[in-house]
């Protein structure tokens, strides 16, 4: 068993794959439902390509870096990576958390628009020329245009490299023959879960799917944000103690007692693949050794997200931000819209319009 199937390797690969496929499958499912091959095949294909390109490019890069690291690991006998590992993890986790958060809100909000406006927006974003303007604007425009690329790219880069490094570290004590099967099973298991999410996403009512997947994404992002802080704290702890504390297992000394909120000498998501706890960590941010930083950042994340959505909702309802006066442009907006677009929407009365869009989004499914 041990010679052909290294359980820790399986768990590592499975865990990292799950985290990646959640993102990728939700995005693909979103694209299919919102743009669909039968609505705007051109834009749909392009955006879908972005997702896959981001995934594969991320995978390629982390394989190259990972191979280099493992080569150095065996060749030079030193773990050059160990010093920077947690910083990498922390920075990318924050980045991923922020990107997921923005994307999640954007996807949910976009879905509230009527279909043709969504398509128009997608097309406009896709066609956007980002060669002009100030650097900041260009970056923003680039980010908007290639959002479907960036998110999977960042996710895969982080998870993939993490997987490679963990396996590199663990496999020193394992027979080489035990790694491939375990890694392939982990990948296959993760991919299967991604496929199920994708299929479920495509068949579920659109609104339900969107809400559920957004909740899921935000749970992952909250966990990522908390873990980012945890990684950075762990990095400074490792610096202070002069070694990788995770190598000490889960017991005393593996954590900084001064910052500890809780610590159980088990259930370690980092140690030896982490098993189920590793997956719990990947999806919901579990720590067996929670710090003030990790707990507070987790809660702050949710406070910010809750506040953000309440404000968005307020604006959606009232057309202004709280404590600010509404801009007196409603009429001119209406005029503008009329002059630019002759669709039936504009003929609908305001009272009818209220309470419509959500329902329509939901019933889009019947057509899809």
């Amino acid at each position: 068993m041990v010679n052909v199937f290294a359980v820790p390797v399986f768990f590592i690969v499975f865990r990292e794959t799950i985290e990646t496929v959640i993102i990728v499958s939700i995005l693909l499912s979103f694209l299919k439902q919102q743009l669909g091959p039968d609505r705007d095949p051109n834009v749909y294909k392009k955006l879908r390509k972005q997702v896959w390109f981001g995934t594969l490019l991320g995978l390629g890069i982390c394989l190259i870096i990972g191979c280099g690291l493992i080569g150095a690991f065996y060749g030079l006998g030193t773990d050059k990576w160990a010093g920077a590992e947690y910083i990498w993890e922390g920075v990318f986790a924050i980045l991923a958390s922020v990107v997921i958060t923005i994307m999640g809100a954007a996807l949910l909000r976009v879905s509230k628009l009527q279909e043709k406006w969504r398509l128009k927006l997608a097309k406009a974003l896709e066609a956007k020329d980002n060669a002009h303007g100030k650097f900041g604007h260009r970056m923003k425009a680039w980010g908007e245009k290639y959002a479907m690329f960036i998110l999977p790219f960042i996710t895969v880069l982080r998870e993939g490299l993490e997987a490679v490094v963990f396996i590199g570290g663990i496999s020193l004590g394992l027979p080489a023959s035990s790694i491939p099967l375990a890694a392939i099973c982990g990948l296959a298991g993760g991919a299967l879960i991604g496929f199920i999410i994708y299929k479920a996403g495509n068949t579920a009512p659109l609104q339900m799917f969107l809400i559920a997947s957004t909740c899921f994404l935000y749970l992952v992002a909250a966990g990522l944000f908390s873990r980012a802080i945890w990684y950075l704290e762990q990095n400074s702890w490792n610096k202070a103690t002069g070694g990788d504390a995770a190598e000490n297992g889960s017991g005393p000394g593996s954590y900084d007692i001064r910052k500890s909120v809780w610590h159980v000498n088990c259930c370690n998501p980092e140690f030896n693949g982490g098993g189920g706890w590793g997956i719990f960590n990947a999806i919901l941010g579990w720590q067996n050794s929670a710090t003030y930083g990790s707990v507070i950042s987790y809660n702050i994340y949710w406070i910010v997200v809750i506040t953000g959505f309440v404000l968005l909702r307020f604006k959606e309802k009232r057309g202004r931000w709280p404590f600010m006066k509404a801009k007196p442009t409603a009429a001119s907006v209406d005029e503008n819209a009329k002059s630019n677009d002759g669709s039936s929407d504009n003929s609908l009365s305001a009272s009818k319009e209220v309470g419509r869009v959500g329902v329509r989004s939901g019933s889009d499914i019947s057509q899809a």
Partner: protein
């Protein structure tokens, strides 16, 4: 340096050849800082005596009275002197252990040690305050023996000291060792190894002569493998106890151990031979780059001949097992013990995050009142261990009983254990990873105790191994039993034997007991010297104010953790709820229009406006097709 040594050698030789009668050996020692660079890498201040470092060797002859008038001129540190290995029978107050047998000697004050030497052999003396001696205050103490049974077998005598050496001073090293940032308890690794407090010393020898070499390891931490290239030798002494001559070519000398060996030199003088000490790197958590664990001196047969580099052994060390030796006096195995203590050694972290060392879950913390003074001021309660405080780990012994210690090492490290006031018999010692001692092994005959067991005062226990030792409680006093790795002294691997306290009160309780300068030392530092461990004199059983170790590490979820986890779960659920709420809510017309305007503007910029015409038809169719549903829902909502 070499001069000092030679002078010492000359003195030793003179003493040996002079007919000696009982005498008073008076030493006036002024302890102060001097700058030295013994390994040639780094000059630092060290604790010297009378401006000298290496500090002088104390010489005496069996039967002598030794008087050391000590003046502490360190300025910033207290100090003390412990005469390692001397039984101090009747003078336990001269054992020199701060907070056990005396108050530390404060800076700018004087203190007199006075005791009779009744035992021959190789000893050493060192400060016993806060693991302080590695800063330099340690030197050999040699007791010559007019009745040495091996006197006719050697011509001359040499003292070879081994030591590890640190470039930094102990207080800083101790605080970084006993720190939350050193949770594994990794001991500071020495910077160098020294022999006779230097390196590459040339020791002149004559061909075809026999030398009695007294090897003393004065290290803070590192044991050393010791050998002389192309020479073997006969061991005749372990820690002051004569043993039957045993041939060996390599010995393993732990911190605080001494070996007396007879070395017969070669017949020819063509070559010089390295004397090699090699620090046991198994002890080190991580061996730093560039550490040279070896130190070399030379048997100089011929000053004109070359001094070859020592052949460095990597790990093919094969030292003699000292437990196999037999004492010359053939003292028989003590009878079955009146009391046997089983002591488990472990390392663990406490609530302050630092790593501590434990005997049976107790880590040593110094009492406020030196334990000896508690004995002397507690009357009949002196036999009640409570008054000494849990963290001095007091074990009260009756007079003249056989005491057995079964020590089980639950730590993967090697530890040299030292008992003050006694040499003990070594009944058995387990190999690496032999686990706990099981007395069944003796009962069923698979382990036999020697009939005349080896005796010494410092014994190595192997990683995850054990040993069994016995001694007779014939020496009233307060005697520590501790690991002689100074780091572990600091992290609490100490227990206190309170041996025959009532007899001790008779010995030292009167007017002629403890000299006044001992109490002056306490007074100068406002340290209590009466009452129980906390200085409570009214109710000695009142344990308030006792020094105790830090609390245990919190286990798992404390209320803080439960609250934090609950809050996090609630925050997550609330967040999910808000997302659902937001996702279900619809955009008002005003916002919808604003959004459309934005998209239009945006679409114009990017030049896709024209395309909308194509999409408009299916989109419009969809809307029209669902008009009915929408109206229905909207109507419902209005209600």
């Amino acid at each position: 340096m070499a001069l000092t040594l030679l002078r010492q050698l000359a003195l030793a030789t003179t003493l040996l050849t002079t007919a000696v009668i009982a005498d008073v050996r008076e030493y006036n020692f002024t302890v102060g800082w001097v700058d030295r660079n013994p390994d040639g890498f780094h000059e630092r201040r060290v604790m010297g005596i009378n401006g000298q470092w290496p500090i002088p060797t104390i010489f005496a002859t069996v039967g002598d009275q030794v008087v050391v008038n000590l003046k502490n001129e360190l300025g910033d540190r207290p100090c003390s002197l412990h005469f390692h290995g001397l039984y101090m029978n009747g003078t336990t107050h001269m054992d020199g252990v701060a907070q056990s047998t005396q108050c530390p000697i404060p800076a700018n004050s004087s203190f007199t040690y006075s005791f009779n030497v009744t035992q021959p052999g190789t000893y050493w003396y060192h400060s016993h305050v806060d693991g302080q001696y590695p800063d330099g205050l340690r030197g050999p103490l040699i007791v010559h023996d007019p009745e040495n049974p091996y006197a006719d077998q050697y011509d001359e005598e040499l003292v070879v000291t081994l030591s590890d050496w640190y470039h930094d001073e102990m207080p800083g090293l101790i605080s970084s060792f006993l720190s939350v940032t050193n949770p594994t308890g990794a001991e500071p690794v020495p910077d160098s190894a020294l022999m006779n407090d230097t390196q590459n010393l040339k020791i002149p020898v004559q061909p075809n002569k026999t030398y009695f070499i007294r090897v003393v390891n004065m290290a803070a931490f590192a044991a050393q493998y010791f050998w002389i290239e192309d020479h073997s030798f006969r061991i005749i002494e372990l820690d002051g106890i004569y043993h039957k001559p045993t041939e060996a070519s390599m010995i393993y000398v732990t911190a605080a151990q001494r070996y007396g060996i007879l070395l017969t030199t070669k017949n020819d003088t063509d070559k010089n031979f390295p004397i090699v000490g090699s620090m046991d790197q198994d002890l080190f958590d991580a061996v730093p780059d560039g550490l040279n664990p070896n130190v070399t001196s030379y048997l100089m047969y011929n000053s004109a001949a070359p001094f070859p580099n020592a052949t460095i052994l990597e790990d093919a060390f094969e030292p003699l097992d000292d437990a196999t030796l037999e004492p010359t006096d053939e003292l028989a195995l003590y009878e079955d013990p009146a009391i046997s203590y089983t002591i488990d050694v472990k390392m663990d972290n406490l609530g302050d995050g630092a790593n501590y060392a434990f005997f049976n879950d107790v880590t040593f913390v110094r009492p406020k009142v030196p334990t000896l003074y508690t004995v002397l001021t507690s009357g009949d309660l002196a036999t009640d261990a409570t008054i000494y405080g849990v963290n001095t780990h007091p074990l009260v012994l009756s007079h003249n009983q056989v005491v057995e210690i079964v020590l089980n090492n639950h730590d993967p490290g090697k530890h040299p254990f030292h008992l003050h006031g006694h040499a003990f018999q070594v009944l058995t010692r387990g190999d690496d990873d032999s686990g706990d001692w099981d007395v069944e092994a003796f009962r069923n005959g698979s382990v036999k105790y020697p009939t005349t067991p080896m005796r010494r005062d410092t014994l190595l226990v192997r990683p995850n191994g054990h040993f069994v030792i016995r001694f007779r409680s014939d020496n009233p006093g307060v005697w520590l039993f501790h690991c002689h790795i100074e780091w572990h002294v600091d992290s609490g691997l100490i227990l206190t034997f309170i041996e025959a306290p009532l007899q001790l009160q008779q010995q030292l309780g009167g007017e002629n007991g403890i000299p006044e300068d001992h109490f002056d030392a306490c007074r100068a530092q406002d340290m209590p010297f009466q009452g129980n461990a906390a200085g409570n004199t009214v109710d000695l059983l009142d344990t308030t104010g006792f020094n105790v170790s830090p609390a245990l590490l919190p286990d798992g979820f404390t209320p803080r953790g439960i609250v934090a986890l609950t809050f996090s779960i609630v925050a997550g659920l609330l967040g999910v709820g808000v997302i659902v709420w937001y996702g279900l809510g619809e955009i008002s017309t005003i916002e919808q229009q604003k959004e459309q305007q934005k998209i239009n503007t945006f679409a114009k910029e990017t030049g896709v406006v024209e395309v909308t015409g194509v999409d408009a038809a299916p989109a419009g169719h969809a809307v029209a097709g669902r008009e009915k549903d929408v109206g229905y829902t909207a109507a419902n909502e209005v209600k």
